[in-house]
């Protein structure tokens, strides 16, 4: 077959997809008809579902996570809708119809080329990926940036209990108490297997590995209680490796340390040390 004949054959397949006849009767038009509502559904989910699915915002990091989720979902919605649109059109439009032969039709000719389509495809993908990459890197960078008044908390996981200690005060507790409005540096480790330190409403999570100390930061910005869970399956009672954390005012935090045996001097030193 000559190249001209090949081009004609391909054109015979491709042309009806995009040109000729009313839009809703052409395959491209049918995919578009599916794409529009699916994109709208995806965007609605992106903007409204997180409000119901996400845990309460109790830190700056959790707010960032939620914003990132909304942005990523919104950008992904039209792309996902294209895939679903083509899939649905193919499944429904090309299903075996009653009375027709069981033998599937022969494959069409392989399609190569298409500069405009390739450019749109690659260009859109690159723009989307770069936007997501830049946004992600910026968010990660802002979370890891140490603040002047950061406070240190040592977190230890062991089957199946979390313990939290406040360096220099001599206080260790199974409850995580943190002051509002200060960046907390969690120094996380494990006494046995790998656990996952996850203060849910603070929007951060990091593995607790034996013999290694990992660092994660969060800035609680709302008073109240939050859940602290293990996010790595760690053995028999993994499901029970959960406790509560509480965000309190700085004054309440200092009083709590004193009530748990810290001296007033050590509390003052601890509270001020990072400033």
């Amino acid at each position: 077959m000559s190249s001209e004949e090949k081009r004609d054959e391909i054109a015979a397949v491709v042309e009806p997809v995009f040109r000729g006849g009313p839009l809703w009767k052409r395959p491209a038009g049918k995919v578009l008809i599916i794409w529009v509502p699916m994109t709208i559904i995806g965007l609605l989910l992106a903007f409204f579902a997180p409000g119901h699915l996400f845990p309460e915002n109790m830190s700056a990091e959790q707010e960032d996570v939620k914003t990132t989720f909304i942005l990523f979902t919104a950008l992904a919605a039209p792309v996902a809708a294209v895939v679903w649109g083509i899939a649905l059109y193919s499944i429904v439009g090309w299903r075996k119809k009653s009375g027709k032969s069981d033998t599937p039709p022969e494959d069409g000719p392989p399609i190569r080329g298409g500069t405009i389509a390739t450019t749109i495809w690659l260009g859109t993908s690159v723009i989307l990926v770069v936007v997501l990459l830049v946004w992600g890197m910026a968010e990660l960078s802002s979370e890891l940036a140490p603040q002047q008044n950061a406070m240190q908390v040592n977190v230890t996981g062991q089957q199946w209990q979390w313990t939290f200690s406040y360096p220099g005060t001599g206080v260790t507790s199974t409850q995580l108490i943190v002051p509002e409005g200060r960046q907390i540096h969690f120094h996380v480790t494990s006494e046995d297997v790998t656990h996952g330190f996850w203060p849910v409403q603070l929007g951060v999570q990091i593995d607790a590995n034996p013999n290694v100390t990992t660092l994660i930061s969060a800035t609680p910005n709302k008073l109240g209680t939050f859940d602290v869970r293990c996010s790595q399956i760690c053995g028999l009672n993994h499901a029970y490796m959960e406790t509560t954390g509480t965000t309190v005012t700085q004054a309440q935090f200092n009083a709590w340390l004193v009530s748990h045996g810290a001296s007033a001097t050590s509390v003052h030193s601890y509270a001020m040390s990072a400033k």
Partner: protein, 228 residues
């Protein structure tokens, strides 16, 4: 009509499969092999000016789950030579908001605990325990055998926490069942109604880190407390 029939059959098969999975999970629900010890009533007791119902529980920890207790009952129905075990029960029932006094006899050997936090007595009445006749708020972390650590399950009483350590038996590394026991007595105030879990926080099992064997099987070094 035929299509509708097949559709109904497909849905039915799916429903049966889902139901089978549910029944399968339900059948795996933990049931204490040695039954539940219901706390014995012992009048009332006043703590910090408030009067509570007083109940008692008692148990032992043996260095080997194989063999029988002095009363002839097996240490643990599952046996397993060399696996330490709480006996005769690992599931308990106590009334809510009452003072629970536990008498624990510990026969197993001890070693260094990996987290000294659990060598401290926590959450008990007065923050103390009576260990071998001495009232203490903790033990030597280098000679710890087991702990009885109770926590509230999520959604029940998440801040509830009681942890009491027990030192090695008087026989040390030569520990055998029912000989050289040390006594650990303490009281705590039970929480609100619901299911609580307890376990030993000393890695006393086999395998890597001591968290295999008895530490990885329900009923030896862990169990539940039903607060009713």
């Amino acid at each position: 009509m035929k299509k509708v029939l097949w559709g109904v059959i497909t849905v039915l098969i799916g429903a049966i499969l889902i139901a089978a999975v549910g029944v399968g999970f339900h059948s795996q629900q933990y049931v204490a092999p040695a039954g539940t010890q219901v706390a014995k009533s012992d009048g009332t007791v006043t703590v910090n000016g408030k009067t509570y119902q007083h109940v008692t529980l008692d148990f032992v920890t043996e260095p080997s789950a194989a063999g029988n207790l002095p009363n002839g009952k097996p240490v643990h129905p599952g046996g397993n030579e060399g696996w330490p075990a709480y006996a005769p029960n690992n599931q308990f029932q106590v009334p809510a908001n009452s003072v629970v006094t536990i008498h624990w006899v510990q026969y197993d050997s001890g070693e260094v605990v990996n987290n000294a936090f659990f060598a401290k007595v926590q959450g008990t009445v007065g923050g103390k325990a009576n260990i071998n006749g001495e009232v203490v708020d903790g033990i030597d972390p280098s000679n710890m055998a087991h702990s009885f650590t109770v926590r509230g399950l999520p959604g029940v009483d998440p801040n509830f926490f009681v942890s009491v350590p027990a030192p090695s038996s008087k026989l040390g590394d030569e520990a055998v069942n029912d000989k050289g026991g040390v006594t650990v007595d303490f009281s705590f105030i039970s929480g609100t109604k619901g299911l609580y879990s307890w376990n030993c926080e000393f890695p006393c099992g086999s395998g890597v880190g001591g968290f295999g064997g008895a530490m990885s099987s329900y009923g030896y070094m862990s169990g539940y407390i039903h607060v009713v």
